[in-house]
Symmetry: C2
Subunit: 349 residues, 2 copies
Amino acid sequence: MQNSITLAHGAGGAIMQQLIKNIMLNRFSGANFEVPLESLDDAGVVDDIVLTTDSYTVNPLFFPGGDIGRMSISGTVNDIAVMGADPIALSSGFVMEEGFHLDDLEKILQSMERTCKEAGVGIITGDTKVMERGAIDKIIINTSGIGKRSETLKRNIDVVKKYRTFNTTWLLDSNVKSGDKIIISGALGDHAIAIMSARGTYGFETDVMSDVAPLNKMMKKALEVGGVVSAKDPTRGGLANLLNEWSAKSRIGIMIYENQIPVRENIKAALGFLGMDVLQLGNEGKVCIAVIPEKADEVLQTLKETEEGKDAVIIGEATNEFDVAALETTVGGKRIIAQPAGDPIPRIC
Amino acid sequence: MQNSITLAHGAGGAIMQQLIKNIMLNRFSGANFEVPLESLDDAGVVDDIVLTTDSYTVNPLFFPGGDIGRMSISGTVNDIAVMGADPIALSSGFVMEEGFHLDDLEKILQSMERTCKEAGVGIITGDTKVMERGAIDKIIINTSGIGKRSETLKRNIDVVKKYRTFNTTWLLDSNVKSGDKIIISGALGDHAIAIMSARGTYGFETDVMSDVAPLNKMMKKALEVGGVVSAKDPTRGGLANLLNEWSAKSRIGIMIYENQIPVRENIKAALGFLGMDVLQLGNEGKVCIAVIPEKADEVLQTLKETEEGKDAVIIGEATNEFDVAALETTVGGKRIIAQPAGDPIPRIC
């Protein structure tokens, strides 16, 4: 390991996970927690409560389809929702640069307010710090949040138990079993391309909008059907990182079909231009759901009836035939989906 | 209000409170919460759970008696403890500058680990972000945490109820009543002077150490005696800000006796040199406790038997005779303790 922090250490892929595993986890392992830190799930759990935290450093602060405020609420709400919990309260910690414009702060707060209403969750505590000019780039926001195990989650798990043994009470990364169908709730790549377009550094502009959105209500509808065993949002490191985490923690193979992965035409064009792989890009308004095969079509249909999930599609399934994440390409070839070293775009969230 | 953020907006005093009241609270008011955001207490509450958050930007990262790691655990644990709750789990969000030394990160993590053990609490979830060189000064840490209402807190409140009506179930800023004794758990000013000494910018060095420490175990001992109605830690804005918050939210006068306020001799010397008021300086290992008069001596005695509270002293009492925070000076004069505009020292925490 190098002796100083690189951008890749914060990019959500293999290099960040090495940092966390090598120098953080051994200090804070909590053997007596149901979902300990070392499971590296989307949130930690104590009794019926999940706790999650995210610091948002996105640059620029405002971009097509969203801003740091909308992102700071959505990202934390989604980390709670993909555990299967109902978000019940958020905290908000602002660190601002001396000289930051109050007009911009107001716009961010308005956006947070709207997103809180959309998600049906409130901020109950906060913190405000200011650093001297030059010591921080404008503003970063930490949003932490708590969620509760709901009756809906319990009923969802009862449905799973009708078909197989299932020992956990949350939607963990380690829950995926052979035969489970993998659903993505919509098109990939929008957020990353919107951010790059807003930066203008890649010499192109598109009319693409970020997908940043709170997904707890959509997740709840899926749980009401029942049969969901795991869920995770493909943020930093993208779907490639997500599938690798599921595969490693569930000790299972996952086969994904390239021709099933929804990607908008203008995103495809930008990706071709940039030479980037859509599977490695971070999204902020999508969730990947693993469902028992007996319930997959019904869950898919329910997702498609929601605004956030109207483009949902089954993109693959888990299998015992191998133990990695793999892609069947459009032309029929098969390749391993490598865990990305990091997200190719820094400060995407 | 100016149209951009100043250092005072993050300094814990009147200017920060104006910012929060004017442009934040109206958006996120949570009327259906027992302790809503607008109460501006040390933590928010949902059912039996308290949630609190703090971002730590202290400069320098390492100082006599502590470091950003010890501070990030202690500050959040203390915000939970002064609500009367038991801290049960923490989250940790790191934002680091590209190029930050891994050796320094390890030292910080070691310190966090030690402080977690001291407090008896674990980190169950985290987040790691990296910003490009120059976009952030080294590292900031957000620690959020949850605490639970304990049987000890319930018994403490039962003791209060033997002597007067008491309608809240937490140690809120609005709980102080005429006659309540005000206890400070130890000497003031150590942390601020240690930070200034470590910076070396004021042209003096002292052998003073920061008081940064987790106080949850000491708080619990006070609650075991019973009769505690409120508690708060005099961090940014110091004891002056704390007393003003109690006075305003409890609609009560508070009289403090200058000759009772514990300040070490070397701190007094440094303050004289700097022309600073110890009441306005932030502390990181002290708590101010309001106790019903019938139990004040017993609570004081119990605090004095702990290491963290061995210099505890009764410094004053609440009164109906006026409705501000006031100081009786050593020479017998009386003056209002003004709410400080902000902490005189930026990035103290």
